[in-house]
Symmetry: C2
Subunit: 210 residues, 2 copies
């Protein structure tokens, strides 16, 4: 597997084949890859909804600038942030560390206290911004995983987060939608698949200091 | 190549082997992968510095909570955002589209005008936040690329961006540092390599609606 070839193969798919479904094993890869994403302090303030419901996708399309990918793709991934991130949320993380690694509470306590204080000093908006960034990191991971697995995807910021939250009852779940990504397989006639990639020359993108 | 095994292999490396250098072909992969990252509207408001200079890394370590990875890793990646994103910057993007794809100006013009207006309606802070998110997406991509290529890495938010900007003369280059990632090879005795990964149970991380 050549990772660069995989990244060159991927593109923001504009037209999906509505008759091609992602097989279960590919979905399992996406789920596991999402859960394995690195996040700040390991706190995972992110959640992934996987929608496979044509009627719901059709409804959501209306609130996504009518982009057909939302309806036609095999599955619609909705990347969310957790809304309640405070002392209780952080304590649950340290419970997981204790259970999974058998780390003694005494060893964990100073860092737990530091983190709780650190988050208590942040405003609600700062915490939400911090969490949103972790969602972007998770999407960066999944886009590359899709490329490696020959899954087509389209990363999207263009949708009404408020309407998604209502239609998907996300407030009740203390979640907020941040990014959307239809996944599946490109239609044979998606002309965007043939377009050359537009990127800066390497010298404008990367600077080496040595 | 099993992508899940690769993601399980990776961890936030706490101790690098200072004597193991990344070979040139691996660096080329990182550079190309960075430039291939998907970004919002394809605008690439991001730049990657690759530092391979032990004295400079040692100096930067002092401004990274003294984390030894900054000094000991083979290379230090510094993810930056562009500071000047406005009409000129956007026009340069459309120049690239025209040159690379031979798209007629008439076809591009409406979207170019839309984007310029869209960005003129954003505050400077909103634009910087938008750009920062693209940096997180780029890091999400590179972390996964590193895992696939058996390159060890440590994603880091814990450093003084202001001091980095001064020491690296980033203001002059209209850049601002956002994230740091030492890359190289783990030391044989990095005990963190053996720790079990701490992750939420899948049911807390992913919800399927179908």
């Amino acid at each position: 597997m050549n990772i660069i070839k995989a990244l060159e193969w991927r593109y923001a798919t504009k037209k999906f084949d509505p008759n091609k479904a992602l097989p279960k094993n590919k979905l399992e890869i996406l789920k596991n890859a999402f859960n394995l994403t690195a996040t700040s302090y390991g706190l995972q303030p992110v959640k992934l909804l996987i929608i496979n419901d044509r009627a719901l996708q059709s409804k959501l399309k209306e609130h996504s600038w009518n982009q057909p990918q939302v309806e036609d793709a095999s599955h619609l991934l909705v990347f969310c942030v957790e809304q309640n991130i405070g002392a209780d949320y952080i304590k649950k993380y340290f419970e997981r560390v204790k259970n999974i690694r058998n780390t003694p509470e005494k060893v964990l306590e100073p860092f737990q206290n530091f983190l709780i204080e650190d988050f208590e000093n942040k405003t609600a908006e700062e915490i939400q911004q911090w969490a949103e960034k972790q969602v972007y990191l998770a999407m960066g991971n999944l886009l590359t995983v899709c490329a490696v697995e020959n899954i087509d995807a389209c990363p999207m910021e263009g949708f009404s987060s408020e309407t998604y939250d209502k239609l998907l009852n996300l407030n009740e779940k203390h979640l907020r939608s941040v990014l959307v990504m239809p996944v599946g397989y490109r239609a044979e006639d998606d002309m965007f698949a043939e377009f050359k990639k537009v990127r800066k020359p390497m010298s404008d993108s990367v600077v080496e200091l040595s």
